[in-house]
């Protein structure tokens, strides 16, 4: 503690003495603009640059922007689909009026695809935010408080997590019969918080022991301040992986349930298109209907792949070791000193099996 005392002494006795090594002064004062710029650089520009330099990240960003454009600008440009817009089962890439052809009811395929996108994003955002917030809250509280509360919360988490997913969704959707896309998203991700809560709890347990949290506690910071200012930033990787994983899950589940015809057909969805193509008698027998099945299939796959790729690329943002190894390899020299860390944090909880 000798250094601490000397620092204080130096501070007290040598006010105005610029030679003191403990009294270095900044050359200029940071304006609010500088602070904002720096924060932006740390939290936005640098991660974005790292993502962009990774081939998976670039692919994911481009693909996802395409879908965002589809959901915003696209809905204005492309007219809303309606039955009998054109002849039935027009082939794609034949006319400018219906670039992707029409389905068996004469609806424009491009319109069907484009106008289903905004609701898909609504579902993803609502579901992923719900799962994230509940997971963070329960994980943080359980990990930080410990004791009986921790045990009770974790038992609940594990119990909810071990109810089989699709059967539960079948029952819930039949029970609630939701048509609001935000509500649908939340229902589809009803179990999504369990994984996040478990992961965040174990991370919180580790963070709790760190010095700076102890210091904050000793300084009498409030519990919510400690949790949000000290613990939460450390958990950011896990939260983002949870969000992206939740997004893929919601796309899969929503299209699946719309395909089964369990969710009400109030809104356009790619799954509804698939359902019509599958149900309409004769469509499966005719080769003319191929695009009716293939176009929604490609659109659904593209969106999930975009999220999966982004999740993989985010690994580089949060894992400097992985990044350094990739950089080293890019320059064609192996650096044996860097140890091989797990590259796929997000995949650690994957299970082999059937969803």
């Amino acid at each position: 503690m000798a250094t601490d005392e000397s620092t204080i002494d130096a501070d007290d006795s040598t006010v105005g003495n610029d030679d003191s090594p403990f009294h270095a002064r900044a050359e200029y004062d940071a304006t609010p603009g500088d602070v904002v710029l720096e924060l932006l650089d740390i939290w936005v520009f640098t991660p974005a640059r790292i993502l962009w330099n990774d081939y998976r990240g670039r692919f994911g960003i481009i693909l996802l922007s395409l879908y965002i454009a589809m959901g915003t600008v696209g809905t204005i440009v492309v007219p809303e689909p309606g039955i009998g817009q054109g002849d039935t089962l027009m082939q794609p890439f034949q006319s400018l009026e219906h670039p992707l052809g029409t389905d068996g009811l004469g609806q424009d395929m491009l319109g069907l695809m484009v106008h289903a996108t905004p609701n898909m994003f609504r579902m993803i955002i609502a579901g992923a935010v719900f799962g994230g917030v509940l997971g963070i809250a329960i994980g943080l509280i359980a990990g930080y408080e410990g004791g009986t509360l921790d045990k009770v919360l974790m038992t609940i988490t594990d119990s909810v997590g071990s109810i089989p997913g699709l059967p539960l969704l079948l029952i819930l959707v039949a029970l609630i019969d939701p048509s609001n896309p935000y509500l649908v998203g939340i229902i589809l991700n009803i179990q999504g918080w369990t994984g996040a809560a478990r992961g965040i709890r174990s991370q919180t347990l580790a963070i709790r022991k760190k010095e700076y949290v102890e210091v904050s506690e000793a300084m009498g910071e409030s519990k919510s301040n400690i949790l949000f200012k000290d613990a939460l930033p450390e958990l950011l990787p896990m939260i983002i992986f949870g969000f992206l994983g939740g997004a893929t899950g919601i796309i899969h589940a929503s299209v699946g349930l719309y395909f089964l015809g369990i969710l009400p057909f109030d809104h356009l969805n790619w799954g509804v298109v698939l359902n019509h193509a599958y149900q309409q008698s004769g469509a499966l027998y005719s080769l003319d209907a191929a695009h009716w099945l293939l176009i929604p299939a490609v659109v659904i796959t593209g969106m999930t792949v975009a999220f999966v790729m982004l999740a993989q690329a985010f690994d580089q943002v949060f894992n400097p070791r992985v990044r350094a190894r990739h950089e080293a390899r890019k320059r064609n020299r192996e650096d044996p000193e860097l140890d091989d860390d797990g590259t796929v944090t997000s995949e650690d909880t994957t299970q082999v099996g059937i969803q």
Partner: protein, 340 residues
């Protein structure tokens, strides 16, 4: 043994939780078996042996006669009776799906088919996971690894039912290579004869293929990540110095050790065999657990639905317990950490 005890307590809590939540949510579902059957009768009276111009009286008579009406009682009485019954192995009788038949019989008839399809898929997915994962790790950083990684990401990103629909359309309907639905050719007598078994496998090709083609991407990538960590170990270097072939190193030395962290997920996957195939079985009209569950939901066949949910959850909970408890057997290092 504190760990085992806690684990068992938690499993029991989960099971009762699911039964309670399942019972009440299922009974709170809008509409009921009676409404469903009434609607069906109005739409299509011929199917139920009524004249085409069936009057409302006919329909009411049919309903009273054939529907197994649960006795009029409050939901709490029904719940306590249900709880007593299931502890004696009695899950009730089906209302609509097959009126009067014990639901356990219906499930026992459907479950083997789902297990059949899923276990075929599981085996091939595991083989593909191990092969692709370990080879990708072994050739880490090469063009092969990069291309395969993208391929695996696509594989993990495509929903299985998309592949199922496309397979059904092209291979089933257009090329007519494989049957488009059903469990076996009904011309053959079910039993231990070659025709029937061959036909069952023939019908299982497309359903299991749709799982296999989409099921190994994510796990292969995770295996690759574990394997890369192991590649730095000394015993791999020693094996290389000894001049063993890359094939031998990647399958014997690498795959086995990198499989350790996957044990839990394999066990959970096995126990999840019963539950997850709802969409696949609907697409291929494959009469297994999933389709049974789906039809029970549509028809509001409450006892069948509840029993399905309870049994699937039971298998799942059992599987996770076994996974946790057996992990120490295959990796003795875990024993000190978790149980000591």
């Amino acid at each position: 043994m504190g760990y085992v005890r806690n684990r068992l307590i938690q499993a029991v809590v989960t099971m009762y939780g699911v039964i309670v939540i399942g019972f009440f949510t299922i009974h709170a579902m809008p509409g009921g078996p009676r409404e469903y059957l009434q609607r069906q009768l109005r739409q299509n009276p011929m199917q139920y042996g009524l004249p085409e111009d069936a009057t409302e009286q006919d329909i009411q008579y049919y309903l009273d006669e054939f529907l197994v009406v649960p006795p009029d009682r409050t939901i709490y009485e029904a719940f306590f009776e249900y709880m007593i019954n299931i502890h004696q192995g009695d899950f009730g009788v089906s209302y609509i799906y097959s009126p009067g038949t014990p639901v356990v019989e219906l499930i026992a008839a459907a479950a083997p088919w789902t297990i059949f399809i899923s276990s075929i898929a599981m085996v091939y997915m595991l083989v593909a996971t191990i092969l692709f994962g370990s080879f990708m790790a072994y050739y880490e950083g090469t063009k092969f690894d990069m291309g395969m990684t993208i391929g695996m990401l696509f594989n993990g990103g495509i929903p299985y039912y998309i592949v199922a629909i496309i397979l059904l359309y092209f291979v089933g309907y257009q090329l007519e290579w494989f049957p488009t639905g059903g469990r076996y050719n009904t011309e053959y007598q079910p039993g231990y004869n070659l025709d029937f078994i061959g036909s069952a496998f023939y019908h299982a090709v497309l359903p299991s293929l749709s799982f296999i083609l989409t099921g190994f991407g994510a796990s292969a990538l995770s295996l690759r990540a574990h394997a890369i960590r192991i590649l730095g170990e000394d015993y791999i270097r020693a094996a290389r110095i000894r001049g063993l072939s890359s094939y031998k190193i990647s399958t014997r030395y690498l795959a086995r050790n990198s499989l350790l962290p996957m044990w839990t997920s394999i066990m959970i996957g096995l126990s999840g065999l019963l539950g997850g195939a709802v969409i696949m079985e609907t697409i291929f009209a494959y009469q297994g657990m999933g389709l049974l569950m789906f039809e029970a939901t549509i028809a509001r066949d409450f006892p069948l639905l509840t029993a399905n949910l309870v049994l699937i959850t039971f298998m799942f909970v059992l599987g996770t317990i076994l996974a946790d408890l057996t992990y120490a057997l295959i990796d003795p290092r875990a024993e000190q950490a978790s149980m000591g």
